[in-house]
Structure formats: structure tokens, C-alpha cells
């Protein structure tokens, strides 16, 4: 039996495993979860020649310090991340994202911090040995569902990998940067008309900033108040990733992968699917402007996003 694993010498701020997420459970209150930036998640799998839906380690801000035991693996890191590879002879190599590396028995990966993204991904060739819960390997810390009893990883725990040998991957690389031009494209929400004429105008013209109140559930923004002229509560109803809610305090909240499944705040807008990955990666303090697009444009932009994403997987395969 394969006994190759990472020993967690430092867990990092919020280290979990994630995949494409968990579906068909909203109706009982279990949210989708999954990698918050699906594009970087898939790229990390591509770089180690995995199936694109293999589970990977997701970390935020400061990542983990991991020591490999009893084997050899290929790994890759995606995002905008500073990390070192500490070889078992204690020599230190500076790591580059979007490139695969070989890790030997006793080597360590020290994920020091994220730079212009909040989240990063660590994939290993063959994937991790994890318990599947309701069709997914994603950890949902809120409901404590998923591998590791639904909890984020802590010190001295072990994460087992499926393979103990390296693949002939030969330093696979992709050229990818995480560009963000400050524009979040949205479709008007189902309660758009709950807001005053001035506030509708403000929403699409003024700049908002990302506060420190950001986690996998959602992202609170700060900026000019949005005045609700009808009702600051609606009868609770279903939610999806990307919904922008405005509670009574007039400040928008963007819902992310671990959002509550139903809620009673008016929805001013919804982020288009093509922009969800980059929104989730915004760091506190980022400035954003909302731009309205219609449904047809959003569908077209999603097609472009899919073609753009898939090109990384096609050109090297």
C-alpha cells in the first residue's frame, strides 16, 4: 500500500482541499463549495497531467509548509504566490508558479504568501487520497462536510497522495498571469428596482473597494450607500454564486463558493460567470467598478472565457 504523504509543518491561514464542487444539495441547505477560482484550479491539475477535476489543496494568504514523506511526486502551484522548495539537503530554491516540479522524499514546500491573488492551488500528480462526501472532495468548513471531517487542515496532520512515483512530465509550464482591470461585469438582479434612481446610477458609476471582511462565503464591499426605497428584506429565496446582495446598511456583498443557500437581502446584481474567478481572487483594498451587460453578452463572454481557459489545456496536449 502506498504510504506517501505530506506532513503539515505549518497549516497556513485557510488550507483545505477543493474540486469542482458539490451539486444537487442546495435544497437541503448544502452549498456548492469547490475551488473558488476554477481556472487556476484546473491549470494546477493540467500542469501535473491530472484529470482537470482532481482535488487539489487550496490556500489563502499564507499557505502551508509541507514535508513530503515516503515517495517522490510532481507538483505545481498556481495563483500569484511566493514559495520556496526546501530540498532535503536544506538548499532552498525559489519556486515559480505555473510550472511543474519534482519533489523528493524529505523535501519541503514552503508557501510563504499570496501576492496579487487571495487564493492559490497546489496540485500533485495522481492527486490526493481523500474521502468523497456527497459527490465531491471539497471541504465545507461551515457545515463541516467533506474530507478531514470538513475542517481546514491543522499542524501535524497528514495529507496522503495516491502515487509514490513521478510521471514523465518534464517541467510543464504555462504562460498565465492573473490580470484584473478593476471592472466587474454584472447582470441586473431580480431586485434592481428596489433601489433609488440615484443609487442605481451610483452602483454603475462609483468605485467600490474590497474590505477585509472576505472569506469563502462572501466579500463585503465599501463605497457609497445604496438606498433601498422598497424593502430592505425580501422573503427568503434561493441564492447562487456571484449574487450581489445589499443589506440594510447599503453596502454590497458578493456571494462566493460557500455562500448560504437562501437569503433575504435584495439582489441588486449578479456577477457574470466569466468574471467569477477573478472576483474571488480580489485582495482587500482592491478598487472595483461595476459594468452592466445583458444576458446575451454574458453568454458570449462566457464562451470566450471557456475558449481562453481551454486553450491552455489544448496547446500542450
Amino acid at each position: 500500500m502506498n504510504n506517501t504523504y505530506f506532513e503539515i509543518l505549518r497549516p497556513g491561514v485557510n488550507t483545505t482541499v477543493q474540486d469542482t464542487g458539490r451539486n444537487h444539495l442546495y435544497h437541503i441547505g448544502i452549498t456548492v463549495s469547490g475551488a473558488i477560482d476554477q481556472k487556476n484550479y484546473k491549470l494546477s491539475n493540467y500542469l501535473v497531467s491530472n484529470e482537470l477535476n482532481e482535488a487539489v489543496i487550496e490556500f489563502a494568504y499564507q499557505g502551508p509548509l509541507l514535508k513530503l514523506k515516503n515517495g517522490q511526486i510532481n507538483f505545481a502551484i498556481t495563483g500569484d504566490i511566493i514559495f520556496n522548495i526546501i530540498r532535503n539537503n536544506l538548499s532552498v530554491e525559489e519556486g515559480n508558479c505555473y510550472q511543474s516540479y519534482i519533489l523528493d522524499d524529505g523535501d519541503q514546500i514552503d508557501i510563504i504568501s499570496t501576492k496579487k491573488t487571495t487564493y492559490g492551488y497546489l496540485s500533485v500528480s495522481g492527486g490526493f487520497k481523500l474521502e468523497e462526501v456527497w459527490g465531491s472532495y471539497s471541504i465545507n468548513t461551515k457545515a463541516q462536510i467533506g474530507p478531514n471531517n470538513g475542517k481546514k487542515y491543522s499542524i501535524n496532520e497528514k495529507i496522503f497522495v495516491k502515487k509514490n512515483h513521478i510521471e514523465n512530465i518534464k517541467d510543464k509550464k504555462v504562460n498565465y498571469s492573473n490580470p484584473f482591470n478593476g471592472i466587474i461585469r454584472v447582470i441586473k438582479g431580480t431586485n434592481f428596482d428596489y433601489f433609488s434612481k440615484e443609487s442605481k446610477n451610483i452602483f454603475f458609476t462609483e468605485t467600490y473597494s474590497v474590505t477585509r471582511l472576505v472569506d469563502r462565503m462572501g466579500m463585503r464591499l465599501d463605497g457609497p450607500n445604496l438606498e433601498n426605497i422598497i424593502n430592505t428584506n425580501i422573503k427568503s429565496e434561493g441564492l447562487i454564486r456571484g449574487v450581489i446582495q445589499v443589506p440594510a446598511d447599503g453596502k454590497p456583498i458578493i456571494l462566493l463558493s460557500d455562500h448560504g443557500t437562501i437569503g433575504g437581502y435584495p439582489k441588486i446584481a449578479v456577477v457574470i460567470s466569466a468574471d467569477l474567478d477573478k472576483v474571488a481572487q480580489l485582495v482587500p483594498g482592491s478598487k472595483v467598478n461595476f459594468k452592466e451587460v445583458n444576458l446575451e453578452e454574458a453568454e458570449k463572454l462566457f464562451k470566450d472565457y471557456s475558449i481562453e481557459t481551454n486553450k491552455y489545456f489544448n496547446e500542450y496536449s
Binding site: H27, I28, G29, K235, S236, G238, G242, S273
Partner: protein, 228 residues
């Protein structure tokens, strides 16, 4: 039936069954939910990720790389939902201890409602309730309608932590906190009964939309000794 179908963003269908909250509108929502669940199971409909029934809305989220709004809208418009006459909804009895160590908001309730704790409880226990929906957190049931005499707004400042098992009331509804969670409902008691079993992969939630719920009061001693 559905009054209006619109898009929620680019990857969800928003089915509006009306603005009121009552059992007949909600039963309509649940009939559509059950029908679509069956179509998904039989693979007669593609690309749907999730269905979220609530009081008077049904939200259908989908994978935009597999389908789109106009395709699904057409399918939903042409569905003939068979009214589920032989409902398989359960009747469930939930024990609650309303000792002051569990019922956290009786002082506020008495002040605002001008009723004693015993009067509030008499109104609350004297009724069978209907589960409109589950969600927000895993397995949390939203039931109604509570007697008009005990209807009250949410707390002005929500609690950061509502204990697991708490029963809360607000407006015409009651709910049960299946996990410790932030929340702003008025807490009248706590149940020792397990409502969500995350290791039961087939059927984790005890209470489902459409079920009939009745509550009965237990003492603190019975609460502490409670054994399923």
C-alpha cells in the same frame, strides 16, 4: 402556477410563483421541484446543477457550458406538473425544552408582545406547522404559520452565535438551528433531537419541505436524558 420566469444572472432561472406566502403557493413550488428532480434523475433534462425551492420561488442553477437560460425556460414553460395528490409528506414531532437556559428571548418577547411566557408557549404549541423550505445552513427547516399574536420582528442586532438546536421565531415563521450559526431570530427553546445527520448520505435532513411539524414541550431533565 409560475407567474413569471426570468434570469438570475447568466446561470440560473428564477421562477416566481407570487409574492404571498401560503401553503398552496408553496405546494406549487414543491410540485415543480419534485417534477424537475425526477426529470434530472431520469436524465431527461441536462445541465442543471441545483434546485432551490423557497416560500414562493424556485431557483434553478445550471452549468452554462451545458445549457442556457432560453433552453431551460422553454422546457419549464412546457412542463405539465402533475399535482401530487398522494403526498408522501411526513408528520414529525419535535421535543423542545423552553427552560430559560434555552429560551433566550422571553423577556424581549413578553415586553413587545405583552404576553406572559406561558401565554406565548400556549400559542406556539397549540398548532401543527408546515415546512415551507430548508436551507441557509444544512437542514434548517423554515416552518409556519405561527399565531398572529406571537409574531415579532428579528432582533435588531443578530447574535454572533445561536446555539445548535435553538428554535427561533420571527414574523409568521419558526425555524430550527441545525448548526451553531449567526442569526437574528427570537429564541424560545432548544431541541435535543438531531435534525441533520451528515453521515447519512441518502437522507441527511429529517424535515423536508411539505412535511407537517408539531412541537411538544419537555422539561430540562427530559432534555438532558433525551435519547433517540
Amino acid at each position: 402556477m409560475i407567474k413569471n420566469i426570468s434570469n438570475l444572472g447568466d446561470s440560473a432561472v428564477y421562477c416566481d410563483f407570487g409574492s404571498e406566502v401560503n401553503e398552496s403557493i408553496n405546494a406549487n413550488v414543491i410540485d415543480y421541484f419534485n417534477h424537475l428532480t425526477l426529470l434530472i434523475k431520469l436524465k431527461k433534462i441536462q445541465g442543471i446543477n441545483n434546485l432551490t425551492p423557497s416560500y414562493n420561488k424556485l431557483i434553478i442553477s445550471f452549468d452554462l457550458s451545458l445549457t442556457n437560460f432560453s433552453k431551460l425556460k422553454k422546457i419549464i414553460e412546457n412542463i405539465e406538473v402533475i399535482k401530487d395528490i398522494k403526498k408522501k409528506n411526513k408528520k414529525i414531532k419535535i421535543p423542545i425544552c423552553c427552560d430559560d437556559s434555552y429560551g433566550l428571548d422571553f423577556e424581549r418577547l413578553s415586553n413587545i408582545l405583552k404576553l406572559s411566557k406561558d401565554e406565548i408557549l400556549a400559542f406556539f404549541f397549540n398548532k401543527e406547522y408546515f415546512c415551507y423550505m430548508t436551507g441557509f445552513i444544512a437542514g434548517m427547516p423554515f416552518v409556519g404559520d405561527i399565531n398572529e399574536k406571537i409574531r415579532i420582528e428579528r432582533l435588531e442586532t443578530p447574535r454572533v452565535k445561536v446555539p445548535k438546536g435553538s428554535i427561533g421565531i420571527t414574523e409568521q415563521f419558526a425555524n430550527i438551528y441545525t448548526y451553531e450559526s449567526p442569526g437574528g431570530w427570537n429564541i424560545i427553546g432548544n431541541t435535543p433531537k438531531k435534525l441533520f445527520e451528515k453521515f447519512n448520505l441518502q437522507d441527511p435532513a429529517l424535515i423536508k419541505p411539505g412535511d407537517k411539524i408539531s412541537f411538544y414541550q419537555i422539561t430540562k431533565e427530559e432534555y438532558l436524558k433525551f435519547n433517540e
